[in-house]
């Protein structure tokens, strides 16, 4: 996502990531990988449950989020979603930009 952050900005689009990690862990990850977009900490799985994405015991016994990507318009409507069946295979930024262009 970071490599295409300017393209997302040109498309008037925010990029936000969510995971169960702590704020401090997310800060480390952001610094390590040079990430400019917000990484939200959800240790209570509030957002993860609201979206129905809890993976029980998925993190060595710890409940975490199953991978998922949503494209959302300015009115909070979900235009597109991808719930992968394999966490190695990630959504390409180009695909998301295409969805934003057609949305």
């Amino acid at each position: 996502m970071q490599s295409h952050i300017d393209d997302f900005e040109s498309a008037n689009t925010d990029v936000i990531a969510i995971c169960v990690d702590s704020i401090e862990q997310n800060a480390q990850v952001a610094e390590q990988h040079g990430l400019d977009f917000p990484i939200l900490s959800d240790p209570e799985l509030t957002a993860i449950d609201a979206f129905g994405l809890r993976h029980v015991g998925g993190g060595f016994g710890k409940d975490i989020a199953r991978p998922a990507v949503f494209v959302i318009d300015k009115n909070r409507r979900i235009l597109w979603r991808r719930l992968t069946d394999n966490w190695r295979v990630r959504v390409r930024p180009e695909e998301l930009l295409e969805q934003l262009g057609s949305g």
Binding site: M1, F8, A11, N12, T13, D14, V15, I16, A17, I18, C19, D21, I23, N26, A27, V29, A30, P38, I39, L40, S41, D42, T46, A47, A50, F51, G52, L53, R54, H55, G58, G59, F60, K62, I64, A65, R66, P67, A68, V69, F70, V71, I72, D73, K74, N75, R76, R77, I78, L79, R81, D85, N86, W87, R88, V89, R90, V91, R92, L100
Partner: protein, 134 residues
């Protein structure tokens, strides 16, 4: 060269998690790394077979055998990860697939700022959930 097979195998395994993530096509298919670990196993078995068939020292034979086992372990790990472990994800829930509008949720980002998903201010959003690093 009984060390060559294990070296190739461990390179195939380790590079998948360190270097290959930089190349999405290679990461998604994993074919290159799967081939590398298989090559490593093949070279290890050949190296071990040569050690046992020649007048090699007992130590050389043992190293050859250990190298072959090590290479097979690397291959097993990578194959397991690619074909089984990484697809160990729960099925999508019906409400996730049917959701039309995102809920009103506020969480804290890495800089300590509160971020509300539902406050769009005229902007679209790409929202990604990932497993994290725990």
């Amino acid at each position: 060269m009984i060390w060559l097979g294990p070296l190739v195998a461990v390179c195939g395994l380790v590079s998948y998690f360190t270097v290959i993530p930089l190349y999405p096509d290679l990461r998604d298919r994993a074919l290159l790394n799967l081939l590398l670990v298989c090559l490593g196993v093949g070279l290890s078995i050949r190296g071990a077979a040569r050690a046992f068939s020649s007048m090699s020292l007992r130590r050389t034979k043992m190293l050859g055998a250990l190298g072959a086992v090590f290479s097979m372990g690397c291959a097993g790990l990578l194959f397991s990860y690619v074909f089984f472990i990484s697809s160990d994800i729960p099925e999508p829930q019906a409400n996730t697939l049917a959701m039309e509008v995102i809920p009103q949720i506020t969480l804290t980002d890495q800089a300590g700022n509160e971020v509300s998903l539902h406050k769009r201010d005229g902007r679209s959003l790409v929202l990604t959930f990932y497993r994290g690093h725990w």
